[in-house]
Amino acid sequence: MKANGTVFKYGDNVDTDVIIPARYLNSSDPAELAEHCMEDIDKDFIKNVKKGDIIVANKNFGCGSSREHAPIAIKAAGVSCVIAETFARIFYRNSINIGLPIIECREAAEAIEAGDQVEIDFDLGLIKDLTKGTEYKGQAFPPFMQKIIASEGLINYINAAK
C-alpha cells in the first residue's frame, strides 16, 4: 500500500478539540465531520486538502478526548496518512481501529515542511520527501496491529477470527 500527497504541517499537541470541535459532535456522519476538520487550527485546511494529502505534525498528535470522530474526520477529509513524532495513545488506537494509516517518525516530522510532496510505502515503513529528495524510516507496527490494518479495521479483524 502506498500514499502520495501534499503535506499540511502542524506543531506539537494538536488536540482532538481542534481536529474536530465538540460543537460539531452532535453529528457522527463522516462527510459532515470532515467539513469542520482542523477548523479551529487551520480554517483553510478543508478548502485546500485534496484526496491523498498527508498531515505531518510534531509531538503528541491527537491528544485530548477519545472521540473517534477525530480520525474519522481526517480520513473522510481525504487524508491518506498522518506522520508525527508521537501520537496520543487513544488517537493512535482509534486510527488503527478505523483504518487510518499513521506513522511515528521523529526525523520525518522535524524535517518535512508544509507543501512538500511526500510518498509513503506502508509495507516498508518508508517515507520519501520528493520535494527535498530525502528518505526516512518510520516505526513499523507490531504484527498484531498490521493484521488489524490489513483487515481494514478491528471489526473485520474480529469477524475474520471467528
Binding site: N13, D15, D17, V18, P21, A22, R23, L25, N26, S27, S28, D40, I41, K59, N60, C63, G64, S65, S66, R67, E68, H69, P71, I72, T86, A88, R89, I90, R93, N94, N97, I98, P142, F144, G153, L154, I155, N156, I158, N159, K162
Partner: protein, 422 residues
C-alpha cells in the same frame, strides 16, 4: 521481574502469571462504558459484526451526559439511538435524563466500578476509576463496539511512572492542585502510553474525591491510566456504594518504574493552568498580574463532586459573585444535586448570584450552556483548556480547583481564597 499494580491487574484479566511492559495482551472486561457522543458511533459500528449480541447486558454502562437534556435535534437523535439500543438489548445500566450524572462521577457512585476491575470507556476520562484501584482507560467507539460484543479488549501492557506522595495538603489546596502540579512538572505528554502509579504515605490524607480528581486527569499527562493503592478509605467507599466483590492488587516490591517522583503535598499551593494547555501551570503566588474573568464554572467529572461543592459553598457563603462574572455550578450527579440541596448548598450558590444546573457536561466541552464569546475568559474546575474548548477560538479557559474558581467568582479575577481573608 516484579510487576506494577496496573500490570498485576492486567495479568490477572488476561489469565497470565506475569506480563511485562510492551507485551500485547487480550483482557477480559468488567465494564464497557459509552456516552451520548461516542455510543452512537459504536452502535453503528456494531452493525458490522457478524455476532450482534452484547456479551453481558449487566457489564455495559451507557450514560447520556454531554448534550443532555438534549440541546438540539441532532443530539436528541443521538440519545434516541442509544435509548433504542439500550432497550433492545435490555442494558441494565442505562442512565438517561432524571437518572443520569456525568459518567465518571456516576459510575463509582452507583457501585459499578470497584478495585481490581478492568474497564474501558469510550471517553478519555475513563481513567478516573483508578482512584478505586481499578485499571480503567479511555478508548474509541470501535473499541467500545468490540468490547460490547466480545467482552474483551487488546492492550499493550504499559510501563509506569511512580509518584510518591508524602505529607498533607494545606487548607484550600486539593487534589486538583496535586494533579495540575504534576502535569505542569511532566508535561501533557509526560506519561504518554504509561501508567501513573500513585503511592506513599501522603495518600492516606487524600479523600476519595481528591483521588478521583487526580486519577481523572492522568490523561492530561498523556497517561494510559492513573492508579491508587486500596486503603481503608477505598474499601469504605466501595462498601457504601457497591455490592460487587472487589479484588485488591498491590505492586511488587521490585516492580520496575521508568521514572519516580516524590511530591511533598504540604508544599503545594493553589495552582492554575493557563491557556491553552493543562501543562501551562502557575502557582497562585507566581501569578502577579490581575487576570480578570467573565465566567467561573464549578463542575465536571473532575470537580463536580460533593466535596467540591462544599468547598465552593464555604467560599460563596455570605458573599456575592462579582458584578461582571457569570458563575455556573453543576453538581455532577442527581445524588450529589440532592445532597447539595439537603445540605443547603444550592441556597448558598443562588443567594451568591450563581446559577445551579442539572447534572451535565455542558460548558466543559463547549457543548452548550456557558459557551464563551470571542475574547472572553473563564476560570473553570474542568480538565481541558484547549483552543476553543469552551466556545470561541479566541476565548480562554484557566483550569483551577473549586476553591480558586469560587474565590475568583467573588473577586472577579483569578484569586485564591486567601484574598478573601480565608
Amino acid at each position: 521481574m516484579g510487576m506494577t499494580m496496573t500490570q498485576k491487574i492486567l495479568a490477572h484479566a488476561a489469565g497470565l502469571e506475569t506480563v511485562e511492559a510492551g507485551q500485547l495482551i487480550e483482557a477480559e472486561l468488567d465494564l464497557v462504558l459509552g456516552n451520548d457522543i461516542t455510543s452512537p458511533v459504536a452502535i453503528h459500528e456494531m452493525d458490522k459484526f457478524e455476532k450482534k449480541d452484547v456479551f453481558n447486558k449487566d457489564k455495559i454502562a451507557l450514560v447520556m451526559d454531554h448534550f443532555i437534556p438534549n440541546k438540539d435535534i441532532k443530539s436528541a437523535e443521538h440519545c434516541k439511538c442509544v435509548r433504542e439500543f439500550a432497550c433492545k438489548h435490555d442494558i441494565t445500566n442505562y442512565f438517561d435524563v432524571g437518572k443520569m450524572g456525568i459518567e465518571h462521577a456516576l459510575l463509582p457512585e452507583q457501585g459499578l466500578t470497584v478495585a481490581g476491575d478492568v474497564i474501558i470507556g469510550a471517553d478519555s476520562h475513563t481513567c478516573t476509576y483508578g482512584a478505586l484501584g481499578a485499571f480503567s482507560t479511555g478508548v474509541g467507539s470501535t473499541d467500545m463496539a468490540a468490547g460490547m460484543v466480545t467482552g474483551k479488549a487488546w492492550f499493550k501492557v504499559p510501563s509506569a511512572i511512580k509518584f510518591n506522595l508524602t505529607g498533607k495538603l494545606s487548607p484550600w489546596v486539593s487534589g486538583k492542585d496535586v494533579i495540575l502540579h504534576i502535569i505542569g512538572m511532566i508535561g501533557v505528554d509526560g506519561a504518554l502510553y504509561k501508567s501513573m502509579e500513585f503511592t506513599g504515605d501522603g495518600i492516606a490524607s487524600l479523600s476519595m474525591d481528591d483521588r478521583f480528581t487526580i486519577a481523572n486527569m492522568a490523561i492530561e499527562a498523556g497517561g494510559k491510566n492513573g492508579i491508587f493503592p486500596v486503603d481503608e478509605k477505598t474499601t469504605a467507599y466501595m462498601k457504601e456504594h457497591s455490592k460487587r466483590a472487589y479484588q485488591v492488587f498491590e505492586a511488587d516490591a521490585d516492580a520496575v518504574y521508568e521514572e519516580e517522583y516524590t511530591i511533598d503535598l504540604s508544599k503545594l499551593e493553589p495552582t492554575v493552568a493557563f491557556p491553552h494547555l493543562p501543562e501551562n501551570t502557575k502557582t497562585i503566588t507566581e501569578i502577579t498580574e490581575d487576570i480578570v474573568i467573565d465566567q467561573s464554572v464549578i463542575g465536571s467529572c473532575t470537580n463536580g463532586r460533593m466535596e467540591d461543592l462544599r468547598t465552593a459553598a464555604a467560599i460563596l457563603k455570605d458573599r456575592k459573585v462579582a458584578k461582571n462574572v457569570r458563575c455556573i455550578v453543576i453538581p455532577a450527579t442527581q445524588t450529589i444535586y440532592l445532597q447539595a440541596m439537603e445540605e443547603g448548598l444550592l441556597k448558598i450558590f443562588i443567594e451568591a448570584g450563581a446559577v445551579v444546573s442539572t447534572p451535565t457536561c455542558g460548558p466543559c466541552l463547549g457543548g452548550y450552556m456557558g459557551i464563551l464569546a470571542e475574547g472572553e475568559r473563564c476560570i473553570s474546575t474542568t480538565n481541558r483548556n484547549f483552543v476553543g474548548r469552551m466556545g470561541h477560538v479566541n476565548s480562554e479557559v484557566y483550569l483551577a480547583s473549586p476553591a480558586v474558581a469560587a474565590a475568583s467568582a467573588v473577586t472577579g479575577k483569578i484569586s485564591a481564597p486567601a484574598e478573601l481573608g480565608l
